[in-house]
């Protein structure tokens, strides 16, 4: 038991060690100008410096809060909409082209309009993240819900279940896996959109930090920002997977 845990930990660690080794390798190979690639230990030193002197945690908090709120609001709206589209075929026929139209628009392209309509405050950033999460979530929800087989509903009917009981005891349990998948997809999309949303005159936030650093060509700061975004996204995804595994123990392929 202990051996397998240790092995899994090492297996998970190996690619990271490999990535750092590759990073050093590229820097020392001489193919690329050294001043363009800060060494991992320099980035680590910068990380500590930003953490202690520049309030990196404030940026981390600002960005995480935006992503969290954006995803929560986006999914809160995507669940009922995606559910209705998946459940009622006629609704899909008229809403499908619309959804695909808006889904295809990259959030970055909408930034000028968002500034015009929502200003440059927190609200504008949330709108961008909401937009990205909502459309990612809607698609996952309605694809999932439209694949629910009517068999379980028929079974419940023959046992005497009323409309409301069928909704609460059959449809909701069958929808939960799709809500969790929608959350995971939306989280990924929202982190990817974060830097774009913080292009809008953000004071703090990891995206803003990267933007400001690029103005002064502070490559090590950019690296710190990128790694922080990756790490937080990874942690959030791990938490969500834990929750999924707990809620979906019944699934044939449990999310391990």
């Amino acid at each position: 038991m202990d051996g397998s845990v240790a092995r899994r930990f090492l297996l998970g660690l190996a690619p990271w060690v490999g990535a750092v080794a590759l990073w050093y390798g590229v820097r020392w190979s001489g193919f690329v100008n050294e001043s363009l690639i800060p060494a991992p230990h320099q980035v680590a030193a910068k990380f500590v410096e930003l953490l202690l002197k520049e309030g990196l945690l404030v940026d981390v908090f600002a960005s995480t809060r935006r992503v969290f709120l954006g995803v929560m609001l986006g999914i809160a709206a995507a669940v009922p909409v995606g559910f209705l589209l998946g459940w009622y075929r006629p609704a899909r026929t008229f809403a499908d082209p619309m959804i695909n139209f808006f889904r295809a628009l990259p959030p970055i392209a909408l930034i000028p309009l968002v500034i015009v309509y929502f200003g440059v405050d927190e609200m504008a950033k949330l709108v961008i993240l909401f937009y990205a999460s909502f459309f990612a979530g809607v698609i996952v929800m309605y694809e999932g819900v439209s694949q629910i087989t009517p068999l379980y509903i028929r079974v419940a009917q023959t046992l005497g279940a009323g409309e409301f009981e069928i909704f609460r005891k059959v449809i909701i349990p069958l929808t939960v896996p799709h809500i969790l998948t929608a959350l995971r997809v939306a989280l990924g999309v929202a982190w990817a959109t974060l830097v774009a949303s913080e292009l809008i005159a953000a004071q703090r936030g990891l995206g803003a930090m990267i933007q400001n650093a690029s103005t002064y060509f502070l490559l090590d700061v950019i690296y710190v920002g990128i790694i922080c975004i990756g790490c937080i996204a990874l942690i959030m995804d791990m938490i969500l997977r834990r929750i999924s595994a707990r809620l979906l123990v019944w699934q044939e392929r449990a999310v391990a």
Binding site: L151, Y152, R154, V155, Q157, T158, L159, E165, V170, L174
Partner: protein
């Protein structure tokens, strides 16, 4: 047979059912009439795709006849209900509930009015009867096909329907499990008398289990013949060794095979061009 009390439970009264398809209307069931009396075990047998399941589906309340009437206890069937338990070919056990919660599902519904105190007792009874006690807290993903089918039966039984509709319930099981399930069904029926309508394509299964066999034609399903099975209950597997069983089997098999050949003849090469 129980001719003493012939109470009609279900009645098919000149029932026909048609589907609209792009190629025109397709008649699936054609002018079918028969009664199912209290305590009957009716097996409906015919070539696959002939419309047997559609008949059951109308009595279950999932489909409405195009013409004629499907009556249950004297009233036209308007939808599914707990007094008509259905056991589906695909089992339909709820994967998100444990074995015990699957059985308890119907007991917790408002329509069945089962007091909380009784639920546990009923669950325990059917868990034991179906040999699932050791798996009470397992999820269906850990069960074999035979166990899932036993769970589906237990769940249907728990709400005490007077009438059971079974759509090829053992079709997907291996021969050994199938024989076990048939014996279990006979045993359970002996203790809790119920009226059953079984859809099957197995002649042996129909004779072994049923009190009456309805042989239907290739699509559209019409009644070809209704056969009283002359063997008294309780039955056991030695019945299948008796010469009368063999004779009846040959007779019904010939009826079904002639319909099967008719169906094959309908499938002219032109119909493969779809």
């Amino acid at each position: 047979m129980s001719t003493a009390s012939t109470i009609h439970r279900a009645r098919f009264d000149r029932v026909s059912l048609e589907f609209a398809t792009p190629k025109g209307t397709l008649r699936v069931v054609d002018d079918v009439s028969y009664d199912i009396n209290d305590g009957d075990f009716i097996a409906v047998i015919g070539p696959s795709g002939c419309g047997k399941t559609t008949m059951m589906s109308m009595l279950a309340g999932f489909q409405k006849p195009t013409s004629g009437k499907v009556l249950f206890d004297g009233h036209p069937v308007t939808g599914p209900g707990p007094e008509r338990g259905v056991i589906f070919q695909e089992y339909g056990v709820f994967p998100w509930l444990t074995v015990k919660d699957n059985i308890a599902f119907g007991l917790k519904l408002k329509a069945n009015h089962v007091p909380v105190a009784e639920r546990d007792q009923i669950c325990e009874h059917y868990l034991a009867l179906m040999g699932l006690s050791d798996f009470a807290n397992s999820y269906p993903k850990h069960l074999s096909g035979g166990m899932r089918q036993r769970l589906a039966i237990a769940r249907a039984y728990a709400v005490k329907p007077q009438f059971l509709l079974m759509d090829e319930p053992f079709g997907a099981l291996d021969a050994q499990t199938r024989a076990n399930m048939q014996n279990l069904l006979l045993k359970v029926l002996a203790t809790e008398g119920k009226t059953v309508m079984l859809i099957t394509h197995s002649v042996e299964e129909a004779i072994y289990l049923a009190s009456r066999i309805v042989v239907v034609t290739a699509r559209p399903a019409r009644i070809k013949e209704i056969i009283e099975v002359p063997f008294a209950y309780p039955r056991d597997e030695s019945l299948q060794e008796r010469p009368e069983f063999g004779e009846l089997r040959s007779y019904i098999r010939e009826l079904v095979m002639s319909e099967y050949r008719a169906q094959q003849a309908q499938l002219s090469p032109a119909s493969f061009s779809e």
